[in-house]
Amino acid sequence: MRPPIEDYGLLGDTRTAALVDSDGSVDWLCIPHFDGLPVFGRLVGGAAAGSFRLGPRHPAEVVARGYRTDTATLETTWRTDTGRLTLTEGMVAEVAGQLLPATMLVRRLTAPDGPVEAVIAFDPRFGERRRAPRTEHRSQLLVCVWGTVAVALRTTPTAAVQPGRPTTVTVTPDRPFTCVMSVAHREPLVCLDTDTAWDALQGDEARWQAWCRDIDDALPYRQAVVRSLLTLRLLTYSPSGAPVAAPTTSLPEVLGGVRNWDYRFAWPRDASIGIDAFLGAGKHDEARAFMAWLVSATRLDRPRIPVLLTLHGKHPRPERELAGWPGYADSTPVRSGNAAAGQHQLDGYGWVLDAAWRMGEAGYPLYAETWRTMAGFADRVADRWREPDAGIWEVRSDTVHHVHSKLMAWLALDRALSIATHHRTSARRTSRWRAERAALREDIERRGFDEARGTYTRSYGSSETDAALLVLPQLGFHPADSPRVRGTIAAVVSELGAGSPLLYRYPSGRDGLPGVEGAFLPCSFWLVQALARGGRAGEADTLFRDLLALAGPLGLYAEEMDPATREYLGNYPQALTHAALVQAAVALRAEGAGHVTDPRGAVPVAEDAP
């Protein structure tokens, strides 16, 4: 039986990530990077795509599961017939300057109550063809090789592990069972003993705890915010600073459906939202790194902002379907690549210029080169805003005049004009931006607002609304409590509500694909922000708490949720959802709302406490 998506925990090292279920099975890991080929792909590739299970030999109840506080180390405890068995596992992120493998997964079983029988089932398969490795045993090491890729497994005590065959081991209170999996890609294997690997993992834990201590103590619901920020950081590819939308491909937006997309890429839009989230939480270095990535990665395409890029700023290969991959819950096709890369999405310019403006507001003036880049983007908006686009939701049917895109285009010009006051810019250029901004406003008000219903619409002339319009209060297009903004929020809630606190992103089934997708979780967090900024902090706080209650057992969120079953849908964990959660918490803080808890404990602290 397949585990629900929310059952999976994220293990990561900021270069790639693994997903592990509550049975102790690693069902997803791409090497050497997030967008590499899977070595464990059971999540969407079936049993033949490989997995790595470490857990109780017989079915056992999970009695505790969670991340160690403020770390990326996951602990799962089962109750077996002979006592408790705990699996502690993680990937080591900080390997620079040390002779450690760039990718290493460390897993340790402990049995505090008495001897417990456990099983290790190590079955790596590589790539689209799910190839079994050429294997050899070297002393205490099992080495699996596929050309220039090698994976080594070492266990202590030594177990006679054979790929694809479960091996039973006995864990005793004084003798934990530890294994370390090392990956080498176009370089020699670094063969570690398990004690060194365990020490490296513990060193990482201390570093993550120090990283979390820098997060603003005054943020409401800090534990949830910290987990979201940590997840965002785990999904940031450290070598280039690229934000990965999600570590998975083709987790379905409809179970059994075709809405299965590859999210192992970086969206400039997500980087911009991430900048806002990290700045709001006091993690300025991460925000600056995202801005540096935006400037560097978009270089080949300027003044166009590509919809998405690979981790190193290249255009992804054409989208294709993986033959023979059964998909999660029989949801086919499983895709590699993302055809949205070729779309024209006007809203991206607004997000990026807004992020640049926020960096300046936070005290980080733009380098002259960065400003030239941003000014080029603004010129592009001035040139092209009259054209239809694919919109933020990347709908693959015909392009239309999305009102949200036009609003973001207005924002792009507005922010460019604000930044221009601090940088040398020709009067001719700013005059043009000003004129186009005015024309955009006039166009939006005339063609994008439904006077009868008192709401902005999904597209010009449409009778539908769009949950992306919930960002309206953040833009300064109208005051957040103005009738037009309030009317739009009300229309989104009433027309796109999927049972509080959930919202669909657009009217169900109106994207040219079969089936009805789930509720889109980032939109609900945008609603929290909209309510908070519109002076409805109490409602915003209630909604936020309702959304926190929908978090998976490990505090992670997917992209979507089935409103009926409350099962997660879509790629997981989803950076956009976590960034929106952080932004919502920051908005609550700004309005003096939210429940502040002691950052280092569970004791609630009254907001008026000294």
């Binding site: 050497p32 450290s238 990535w293 700023g313």
Partner: protein, 158 residues
């Protein structure tokens, strides 16, 4: 050894190479920006880095030109095709040895092993500098080919 030729034509050939690399960037072929990479060793500001890196690049080009001039002197001839061959070799060495080595010595360049503690913001070049765009190896080889051919041609004419 033709010292005067080395001094003048080395500078010219480096200018040709730099110009081609910049043209490739402007044409959207590659993100490899040698003046920026060299200059960010001394400053994080991209504009200042380009100025400093431009001077550094000219100096590095002059050092390499010394090798070319010596090779021509040893072989007893300086021709465009010999320069081109040396240029291709030079480009191949730059892609496979010199640029990847920067990761180990550049204070602001991340490595493929960078983790969350890394504050380096320049992305690593990767194999054959492919991280800077799939056309980067071709652009680099072409620019070095032009560098070697320019030197061979000019020193030969002299």
């Amino acid at each position: 050894m033709d010292w005067a030729g080395w001094a003048l034509f080395g500078l010219l050939a480096t200018a040709v190479l730099t110009g081609l690399m910049i043209a490739a960037q402007l044409g959207g072929l590659s993100r490899l920006d040698l003046p920026l990479i060299l200059g960010t060793v001394v400053t994080p500001d991209p504009d200042r880095a380009r100025a400093a890196g431009g001077v550094m690049h000219l100096a590095v080009g002059q050092v390499f030109a010394l090798g070319y001039t010596a090779a021509f002197a040893l072989l007893g001839q300086a021709t465009w095709w010999l320069g081109g061959l040396l240029g291709l070799l030079h480009g191949a060495v730059a892609l496979t040895v010199l640029v990847p080595m920067l990761v180990g010595v550049h204070p602001r360049m991340a490595s493929e092993r960078a983790g969350p503690a890394s504050t380096s913001v320049l992305e690593p070049p990767g194999l054959l500098a492919l991280n800077y765009g799939t056309q980067t190896p071709l652009v680099t080889l072409a620019a070095h080919l032009a560098y070697g051919m320019s030197l061979g041609l000019l020193l030969g004419v002299r």
